[in-house]
Symmetry: D2
Subunit: 347 residues, 4 copies
């Protein structure tokens, strides 16, 4: 049984990990760490976990480094970059949830940080070069050997998985790719604020950070590696729900495709990816709720020739903790799907 | 006091009219007609209206034509086209909610009907030529004299109002205009079905009739009249709420604009339209809930030069009964805003 | 036109007042005051009010006392008690939203304050004796002459109106009255916190302050005045919605009643109350949404003889700003229903 | 591996079974049967199950009786009673979801049926006497040997589990027990209708079948077996959510208890029940979402001495398919918790 530590155990990210790992047959959690909320059993904060974990949430200073196979940093931006070296020095692989290790250069990080209105310097610049972006569908072999894995942003992975097969398409022409994404409020984390304020969220929808969301850089950087150089115009939106992201990606091309051609292309592209499913009917969030799946549907508008790629994920699973466990499975030499083969829950 | 009859009084459209006209100082409702649900006081079906209306819902055959200043047909497709001549012959102006009189030619109607999978013939073809599309912002003077007014579709009016100012822009280039719209479930009317099934709608979103929704023709037809000939790719979506539509309209152009230029252009364009408001911050549905407003925000993405026009309405007001009353006000020589100057309700 | 000032203009209470008074033909708002959020036009905070009010939110020190007919203190507990004397001295009647003036003695206030975990002293004790509880259905003549009106709590008014007719019943027997109330989250005000945190509220319900909610004292005090001395066990609950309260009141009695007897008794009791409606079918919140109505249904369980009284209100209207305007109408010698005769909105 | 057949596979009950059994290590589903919706792979109807089951939904006539260890009838009332003998004759144990086998006498069934407005005769009267009510917490040893297990109603089990420990209390006095229950809409099944119509359900709550819900008889019958003879007044309500039931049970007694005494009593009572948890803080539905748990909190109101027992379940799990699997585990000699030890999912 592999031993995992969770740093930042009290947020939604930590909670999601605890739920998944409670049913994982090869990884068990033996230490919970938080910054401010410490000194109590996790079941006192999350009563639904009380029967499954008897662990106390401790301070970073109390970590026992002697019995850790993998460390999850489900921490906000700039928390991991200050602490992660303690694990690297001891050869403990780390999976970080924030933007800290999603980039390989200081300048890329700075662009991300600027969009998020946070400090643009990086406290562990030396690790950037070798950190691996946690996109299991493309970087699986690197993840297996990585010291640091930067777990993707939730919007980012829904867009990247939807767009990657375009590397096999002819995208010539001066077109911008439009990414119109809708998310539940849990993406804003567990602190009450304007984003998750019930009276503002019910019966409502709005766009925000239009064209300047921090995940934009993350997407463009990764697409470039596969020759997709189009500019993206990314418009995140919040809708009245807690979990889930549906992204509509609009691509215009000189060369025209049929829906059938794209379906074949996408199926072929992801034929070895256990969590990516290509469908031909309109997918909805019930296809992925509570699971690590990303369901994608490519469609061509016969009137205009425009392409619509719809991508749906559970933002707290494939968009966060599910993907982190997938990365951990790869890194620890386990079956990629271990602990993650659960059906969605309907209704 | 003008007297109004409502045909199709028991649906959401009739209900919305009754709510508005209860606070209208110049129009009163004196007859309620329905097809199947008849023979009871409206307050038995809608208890919230019991104190405001003592009217019985009657059959079409029971109409008293002697005391009607205006007729609202809040009926489904193909209901009005069979009955409307009875009013026209008596010189009673009619406002029809369906697609029956939104087009001026049989062939345009047929295209609409085909998209909606209904019969494509028209039973009152002779009236098509002179029917007026109920777009008060452009056809106000025609509406004032119209015999038949075709009240716009909910998605259609949100898109048309967002796109009309583009007639003053230079749209050269081979680009498709992307219309990504999200609606509450009330657009599907008052019959329980898949579209408004709570267990399917909560925590969910999905696209439907991608590129082939019946409102598409309605939008393109009206834009063409103003020289906007681009193809539209329209993708309706349903999200977990009852009322409201937010449309994101994406325009790519050779000529580049700034957000400021577009704001000025839009404000100028709608300076005489009491229900269209141009804003510079991200609008949400609380700006329009329960009202006849359409709030529009034009934005240019500085990275790609793409344009995003966000348009929000209450689909049962500006998208249905509110706009119908606005048309009625114009037609009856009343102040265009009579009965409609209510604040949105927040939260 | 009567002039109103709103102290605490930026909360939900102030917002509700502004919405109602925008359609009020006899009262206009000419001053907006807040404690911290000042120095901007109200439309910047509440865009949906921008077209209706051009008023700036000012500090308390900036009040112009020369042109005020009535003052609304839509302020939290203990705010009004420090400031209200400034208005009383100038003979300006005040309607206070908090618990500050809902009691006539210091000791009653202290019990309320203790339940709410706030300080138990009262800074304007001298005004308590003459303050009038804003229960228009019973204290209308006092309200017409009151210097200070204490606007009832939202749960309190739903329970009091449901229970008052019991003064005409024989309640003998050692039974506790059970009050099982469910509220939307807007009762918790406009500050984000645990109570209105979307991820906690969706798909959820919970009880809180069981038997010790501060409104309990308010209800028992007022019932005692009418000879209803039973103990109440009041259990508030929050359910996934923004507006509305449904209270189920369970009464056991030695003497047995029929549903019909109670319906007659209740109808007779409220025959002169324009906003209280007695119904015989199960009422729901769509009967009252957005309005000042309280709809009540008395029912006797034929198997057990137990009585269920169901009472529904819109907590932000009859439970807050609607009732405040009703009080203001009475106090200013206007028609009690002025500005409040709007239909509920459905769906 | 035990083989299970599901009759009525296409409803929420069948769907729930398929989700649970997909992660069950000892039971596998090998046949799916439905009445009308047949002739397709289950994944076509429930895309979220497509990767987990390749089974076709067949007609009753197509059943292969040769390879079945247990039969789940997730069918509506009166469906199982006509068909179940085919399994009994072959010694295949049956778990029926409806009210058909929740009673041991024809007259008890008739009372249930009358409340539900269905036919009151019973087509398999001969089996009633030996059918076992699927209350694992009390009838575990009978369930282990049962030919037919009547799976409890969702409201019923939430009330029975909350009330059973009262057999150890002194309930003297002429008091009615009040059961105020709130449910999500999924209890109404998968057919669109008034109960699950989104525009009616959002921002709403209402009572229904007050004092005459069919589960009432089921609860009283089972309580009587343990000496609890009080009358119940049961008031079901629907609130804006899909899953979950919270029941508030109010008990008045001559003898007074403290909260602490009840907590001890309840904990002792359920010390061997793996799915019943006694808590001392207000429980909410996130404690049980997606799981087979029933969480119960007893509380005494110190002012009135009244007792509140709050009981929460997921109506589709402990209230339906979870409990059915628990029964199946017992019947098949497996660990009672097999396939059911999953954490709730938060948020």
């Amino acid at each position: 049984m592999k031993k995992a530590i969770i740093i930042g155990a009290t947020g939604f990210g930590g909670c999601g990990l605890l739920e998944i790992l409670a049913r994982h047959s090869k990884i068990t959690v033996n230490q919970l760490i938080a910054k401010n909320e410490t000194g109590f059993k996790i079941g006192e904060m999350y009563p639904h976990l009380a029967d499954f974990y008897d662990l106390e949430v401790k301070k970073f200073e109390e970590i026992d480094f002697s019995d850790i196979d993998i460390a999850f940093f489900s921490t906000p931006d700039r928390a991991g970059m200050k602490l992660i070296h303690r694990f690297i020095e001891k050869d403990i692989p780390v999976i970080d949830y924030s933007g800290d290790f999603r980039f390989n250069t200081q300048s890329d990080y700075a662009e991300y940080a600027e969009n998020k209105s946070i400090e643009t310097t990086h406290d562990s610049e030396e690790y950037l070069q070798n950190s691996v972006y946690g996109l299991c569908e493309k970087y699986g072999s690197d993840i297996k050997r990585a010291k640091i894995i930067g777990n993707p942003g939730c919007f980012a992975i829904s867009l990247i998985l939807g767009l990657l097969p375009a590397e096999k398409m002819d995208l010539n022409g001066n077109y911008t790719i439009i990414c119109d994404s809708k998310s539940g409020v849990s993406g804003a984390g567990k602190n009450p604020g304007k984003a998750n304020f019930y009276p503002q969220r019910y019966e409502n929808i709005n766009t925000y950070r239009e064209g300047s969301h921090q995940h934009l850089i993350e997407v463009e950087q990764n697409l470039k590696k596969f020759g997709i150089n189009q500019k993206l115009f990314f418009i995140p939106q919040v809708i009245p729900m807690t979990r889930g992201i549906l992204s509509n990606i609009y691509i215009q091309t000189e060369k025209k495709y049929t829906t059938h051609e794209l379906v074949i292309l996408f199926q072929e592209y992801y034929k070895d990816s256990p969590f990516v499913k290509i469908v031909t009917k309109s997918p909805d969030l019930s296809f992925v709720r509570g699971t690590n799946y990303c369901v994608i549907r490519p469609l061509v508008d016969s009137r205009s020739g425009s392409i619509l790629i719809t991508s749906v994920i559970d933002n707290l699973m494939k968009g966060q903790s599910g993907n982190a466990v997938q990365c951990a499975n790869l890194r620890l030499g386990l079956d990629e799907t271990e602990g993650l083969m659960i059906t969605p829950s309907y209704p």
